[in-house]
């Protein structure tokens, strides 16, 4: 093989990494090729003819210009497409990339369709070093707090928000990273081929980069390198065995791509055995801090009631209408620190709607309120409320299904852990310490719910009851002051439900305030200190368990007329 082949592998590997950067966060963006185009032409235009200050090599200057320009372009494209997901995001970003290409084509300073001559400055060693640096960047990202947040967003955006992850910000981080890497590719490409025209950065080029990232593997960091190497090897191999008819090459490339997609879902990288987190229990660095760093939870605890317990939540006149349906009507509710508040009511009573409003996923139609000092307005932010200290589980499990149990819980610790990526890049020991702290926290919560021996199992591979308990462990890992459990025992048999009841009691003993929504009335009566009953969106009763159990309105609305048998939903 010639040197050019290796050079192409390295340079195309960089392009594949720019796609990898967004794919790890589940974002199918094709804007990178546009970033690369703008970056390449700008860098070629503005790089001086002599080394900067007499000693900084020109290629280095060009790379710096290209990466900055690529990142800025990605940011400018990323902001307006923030609302879009999936296919729509792909199409919009493709539209931007095509607009960038055609605009460059119409500019005189780029040489338009005639292109621009560029000096060849990129040699094989340079290209390999650049690729290695990019790969190193993503290798260190992987097990950082940033990497986990991106994993979480890829698996389930809503659940990521419930862990306190600012999804919009992290998505932008992934776009900007991709833009910078794409800019790097554009510059490398320009100073390698000696000649660039805007049409080098068209839709097929974007698809090429995407395909290399996907075929190599878009979840493991070596994937893009494998993809780039593979696609450069195909023509080499065909030449070697003498299959060179014009149509055979694209046909085989297509067939191989299809084969990889169908038979190797994780790309080539899935062939490399990798340690799934949770198989080996690492010793904790030191004693695990019992409570979260207080700066995070310093929110105003709100007014203090007669007993001296601060109010964590206060709602006044809360309503939610869906069209003509009043899901929640004029609800007043407060939760005091240390309580275990049960929220019960028949199906459709508005329990889950209320919980979704409290945790910031749904905006109320009217009413005022605050939770842990955060106002619950008309444009609530679930991640902000989670960061203030509200942890929750979902009625239908929202686990990060392709992450291991331990990794799920690690994401839950997002709120109480510190960013580690930049420190990991330079191997600062403090980053390692923080990571081990987070791991210790995660192990402790897994043990607490009894999943310590299944830490390395993928969340999707756990039994149903284990999944529900994993959700609780994940919410606990963020050290919440207020924990909302949305039907934690739904679908469990009575043994499992009893275990959940014990868990709730032990959490309450540790001082966690809990809001429990549950159909299993026996469980609620046994674990809660106070119960609120909702029917048709309105509060129909409120009081300690023994009062509720004998309240006529509740019995009529919920328990049914026959009071001699305790129902268990």
């Amino acid at each position: 093989m010639e040197e050019t082949t290796f050079l192409l592998m390295a340079i195309n590997g960089v392009l594949a990494y720019s796609f990898y950067a967004v794919l790890v966060a589940g974002q199918l963006s094709l804007a990178q090729i546009g970033c690369a185009a703008v970056a390449a032409f700008t860098a070629v235009r503005f790089t001086p003819d002599d080394p900067l200050l007499g000693f900084i090599p020109r290629l280095l200057v060009a790379i710096a210009i290209g990466m900055v320009v690529g990142a800025v372009v990605a940011l400018l494209i990323g902001l307006p497409v923030m609302r879009l997901r999936g296919v729509f995001l792909a199409i919009a970003t493709l539209g931007f990339a095509e607009m960038a290409r055609i605009t460059l084509n119409n500019m005189s300073w780029t040489g338009g369709a005639l292109g621009t001559r560029v000096e060849k400055l990129v040699t094989l060693p340079i290209a390999v070093v650049v690729l290695a640096l990019v790969a190193y960047w993503f290798a260190r990202q992987r097990r950082s707090r940033l990497g986990r947040a991106l994993d979480a967003i890829r698996e389930d955006e809503l659940a990521a928000q419930a862990m306190g992850i600012d999804v919009a910000r992290y998505r932008l981080v992934s776009y900007v990273t991709a833009g910078a890497v794409a800019g790097l590719y554009g510059v490398m490409y320009a100073y390698f081929t000696r000649f660039i025209e805007p049409n080098n950065f068209n839709f097929p080029a974007a698809v090429d980069g995407l395909v290399k990232a996907v075929v190599g593997g878009s979840v493991v960091f070596v994937g893009p390198v494998l993809g780039a190497v593979f696609f450069e090897l195909i023509p080499e191999a065909q030449r070697a065995i003498g299959l060179e008819a014009g149509w055979i090459r694209p046909f085989l490339a297509g067939a191989l791509l299809l084969g990889v997609i169908v038979f190797l879902p994780g790309g080539f990288a899935s062939l490399i055995p990798s340690r799934r987190m949770g198989r080996v229990r690492q010793p904790a660095a030191g004693p695990i801090p019992a409570s979260p760093p207080s700066t995070l939870a310093a929110a105003d605890p709100g007014p203090v009631d007669a007993d001296g317990a601060p109010e964590l939540l206060r709602l006044r006149g809360w309503s939610k209408d869906y069209g003509g349906v009043h899901a929640v009507r004029d609800v007043d509710l407060e939760i005091r620190a240390g309580e275990v508040l049960g929220l019960i009511g028949p199906n459709g009573a508005g329990k889950t709607t209320l919980v979704n409003m409290i945790s910031g996923f749904v905006a109320p139609s009217s009413g005022t309120g605050s939770v842990l000092g955060v106002a619950l307005g008309t444009r609530p932010r679930a991640d902000r409320i989670a960061r203030a200290g509200v942890g929750r589980t979902f009625q239908h499990s929202k686990l990060f299904s392709r992450l291991s149990a331990l990794e799920n819980v690690l994401v839950g610790a997002h709120r109480v852990s510190r960013p580690t990526f930049l420190r990991r890049l330079v191997w600062l020991p403090s980053a390692d310490r923080d990571e081990r702290d987070a791991l210790g926290r995660a192990w402790a919560q897994l043990d607490r719910v009894g999943l310590g021996d299944r830490a390395d199992v993928r969340a999707s591979g756990l039994a149903y009851g284990d999944q529900r308990r994993l959700e609780i462990a994940r919410a606990l890992a963020g050290d919440p002051q207020l924990l909302i459990l949305d039907e934690p025992a739904a679908g469990m048999n009575h043994v499992e439900a009893a275990a959940v009841g014990e868990l709730i009691t032990s959490l309450a003993a540790d001082g966690v305030t809990i809001l429990l929504i549950e159909h299993n009335v026996r469980l609620v009566l046994r674990t809660c200190t106070r119960i609120v009953v909702l029917n048709f969106g309105q509060v129909i009763a409120e009081g300690p368990p023994d009062e509720i159990a004998s309240n006529d309105a509740v019995i009529e609305a919920y328990l049914g007329a026959d009071t001699t048998t305790a129902p268990s939903a």
Partner: protein, 291 residues
């Protein structure tokens, strides 16, 4: 006015192409990027039927539709069916259809060679009509007529027949559709067949219009088709028709008044503007997100 007629005629081809795109998306929630390869295949098959087999064009077009339908089933079987139950099936299907599209183009090259292919000179009568200052060719009228007819037929099929009801049920919830006895696999294959049939006819009409077929002819219209379905609204049949017309007109008017090199900037500007301001498109409905 002349520009408007030209714009509507090219827009009708875009609409027909986009109709197939949007049908698969609305029923199966998949984006089939091999659609552009079917479009090219439609053009080549049409030329072979007329040029080599000597069929008249009016018989060729229905046969192209059938051939496109067969290709659609093949695409569904080898690109989408094997991965349909995977969590990332959406994304995997996108890539798999790119792969199958590339394979189909390679096979077209094997069969027809890399050169441009043309219809025989007298394939289509070269009538032109003058209405005031506006010239309309018979071919333009046929293109517009066929597109309108097929759009109406598809709309009727989806909204007024049992097959259409089954398709809408699958679109709503494939699992529930299976439970009530709908043959989801048959509906899926039928949807792909219809979609690709429309794409192939769009290809043969375009090849008639410019009297040439090229291997990479699908690349340009693929981007246009995406713009059309976004502007009209993903999954909307009237939206695809109107979107096609809007994009066609925007292009022709841009060429006339701004310059041909800016043509696609306006198209993509339209696409991006709609996506940012009204992501559901002009006719689409927004899907609520679920907590």
């Amino acid at each position: 006015m002349q520009q408007v007629v030209n714009g509507i005629s090219i827009g009708a081809i875009y609409a027909l192409f986009a109709l197939g795109f949007t049908l698969v998306f609305s029923v199966l929630d998949r984006l089939n990027l091999a659609h552009a390869a079917v479009y090219a295949a439609g053009a080549y098959i049409g030329i072979e039927l007329v040029g080599d087999a000597g069929l008249p064009i009016w018989a060729g077009i229905p046969l192209v539709f059938v051939a496109g339908g067969v290709l659609g089933v093949v695409i569904e079987r080898i690109a989408f069916a094997p991965i349909k139950s995977r969590p990332d099936a959406h994304f995997g299907g996108l890539i798999a259809s790119i792969a199958v599209g590339a394979m189909m183009i390679a096979l077209l090259q094997q069969r027809y060679g890399p050169q441009t292919k043309r219809f025989p000179p007298d394939t289509f009568p070269n009538h032109r009509y003058e209405i005031g200052s506006v010239a309309v060719s018979l071919l333009q009228l046929v293109i517009i007529g066929v597109s309108l007819l097929l759009t109406l037929a598809l709309w009727w099929l989806v909204n007024r027949t049992g097959l259409g009801r089954a398709m809408r049920a699958v679109a709503e919830d494939p699992h529930a559709a299976r439970i009530v006895g709908i043959h989801v696999d048959v509906i899926t294959a039928t949807t792909f067949a219809l979609s690709s049939g429309l794409g192939a006819v769009a290809g043969v009409l375009f090849a008639l219009d410019v009297n040439s077929a090229l291997l990479d002819m699908g690349y340009n219209i693929e981007l246009k088709g995406l713009a059309v379905i976004i502007v009209g609204g993903m999954g909307s049949i009237p939206g695809a028709l109107l979107g096609g017309m809007i994009v066609g007109l925007a292009e022709v008017l841009t060429i006339a008044h701004i310059g041909s090199t800016w043509r696609d900037v306006v198209t993509f500007g339209l696409l991006v503007g709609i996506l940012v301001l009204r992501p559901q498109g002009l006719f689409g409905t927004r899907r609520a997100r679920q907590v």
